[in-house]
Amino acid sequence: MEQVVANGLYLGAQYALIALGLTLIFALMNVLNFAHGQMYVLGGFVTYEIYGQLRWPFVVALFASAITLAVLGGLIERLLFRTVIRRSVREESTMLLAAGIAYFLDAVILLLFGEKQRGVPKIVPGVLRAGDIIMPYDRIVVGGLAVLFIVGFILMMQYTRPGRAMRALAQDRIAAQLMGVPVEFYSLLGFALGAMLAGLVGGLLVTITGVNSGIGGPISLKAFLMVMIGGAGVVGGAIAGGFILGMLESVGLTVLHAYGDITYLVIFAALLIFLAIRPNGLMGKPWG
């Protein structure tokens, strides 16, 4: 049992970080970033190349993943989303754009890195045995880093000037403009930050599960699940959704093991019922 909880927490911290990036972009720009999973994959491959192939320190690789995705996210916002948002009055346009970017990145990743599953050497060897719990040290490090990033993100949003500006922008765009918040700059910053979080998790998880070019879509799907569970556009909701999905997956894999690979079938069925009862998720407000 403790083992299941430990696995759930480790997984939940990664998931929460993914969901935070997605929800940040949604809250700031009302854009559903369908390419979030692809950004994660790209982050994974950057760490794979730098840490796994070049054998530079893991920290450097992780940093490179974050920076690469922040720059890419910034460019995507500046060159694509901003143009589309300015010209189009329909929200579907940004969804189509996001979906297009997802397919494009899928293709680019496949071209650059091939279709093989890639892994990297363990960042820390050894396994922790504490009572009934067996936990490899690298998972503990990766889980700890994820929690650290989550805490850092929350502190930044709560207590810094850019954080306050982004929250204000998410809660009332017009009012934020009237306070003097430069909307375009913070949309760019928010998108870069959201993409950076996806890249960070990609860089973290490649050390545990490896990465392959096909998992972008499924990761995006999971990110949407988490955001739907917690409530779209709310920081607390994304974190709750991440940990809940991590825990469900961990429990499901153990409890439902005997019945075959049905964990996600059960999770989807449960989510359908849950959303019928609470369409805005746990903490979501009806946005509009």
Binding site: R164, A168, Q171, I174, A175, L178, M179, V181, P182, V183
Partner: protein
């Protein structure tokens, strides 16, 4: 004397429908000026044009002798024009304190922001008790006070108020009217007030403009307008 704010012959369109057709309005330093008129007469459009939320098609807007039409909202607020938008628009999930701090976003003098916060809380003591409460959980009247205080945090020379009495209990309307007068007198802030509650607006303003369908129909000293038969008939009807 040079006006603090002047709009001359301003035209503004939403898509292809005009909202303002050749409007000229002035605010002198130290004045409280009211814009009255029915829904859709163009009162709010004037404020949107000043703040840069909407681009004007013709005419010009000057603030302290300088053209400001064409500037975006973040540039306008830096010049010293703060806006209290219609429907309050607090940041609902942020604390009262963070809402107030957002009001000072355009300022870079951190030490003095603190003293502005003190004086804003002195003016609206109700907010002091609720500093860490999420703004969205307060009553309509309290939220209205918060957004006025938030606008003052920008330390403006000109305060624009869009329908501050809308959706607020009658007793609170009096409080808000008193606050506006006090802000104008004691803090030397000029005020441009948009109101459907014409009676209140004319009582607390020096001058007023009455708008109908995108043009200024009538203007003059508020005391005279209150007595004007046409104004009485049009805007001060029995239901007020």
């Amino acid at each position: 004397m040079r006006a603090l704010l002047s709009l001359s012959d301003v035209e503004l369109y939403y898509d292809h429908v005009y909202a303002l057709k050749g409007v000229s309005v002035e605010v002198q330093e130290g004045e409280t000026v009211a814009l009255i008129g029915a829904n859709g007469a163009g009162k709010s459009s004037i404020l949107r044009a000043i703040t840069g939320l909407r681009r004007i098609k013709k005419g010009k807007i000057e603030f302290e002798g300088r053209r400001i039409d064409g500037l975006g909202p973040e540039a306008v607020v830096k010049l010293g024009i703060a806006m209290v938008p219609e429907g309050r628009r607090v940041f609902p999930l942020m604390s009262v304190r963070d809402n107030l701090m957002m009001g000072a976003f355009s300022r870079s003098d951190r030490a003095e922001v603190r003293s502005s916060l003190e004086s804003a809380l002195e003016r609206f003591p109700r907010l002091k008790e609720r500093l860490s409460q999420p703004a969205g959980t307060m009553s309509g009247g309290e939220q209205q006070m918060l957004v006025i205080a938030r606008a003052l945090m920008a330390r403006p020379k000109l305060l624009l108020l869009d329908e501050p009495s809308l959706g607020v209990a009658p007793k609170i309307v009096q409080d808000i009217a008193r606050s506006i007068v006090a802000i104008n007198r004691h803090e030397k802030v000029s005020v441009l007030l948009v109101e459907q509650n014409s009676r209140m607006a004319l009582r607390i303003s020096n001058r007023a403009y009455a708008l109908t369908t995108g043009t200024v129909a009538l203007s003059g000293a508020s005391a005279d307008l209150v007595a004007d038969e046409r104004i009485k008939h049009l805007y001060l009807g029995g239901d007020l």
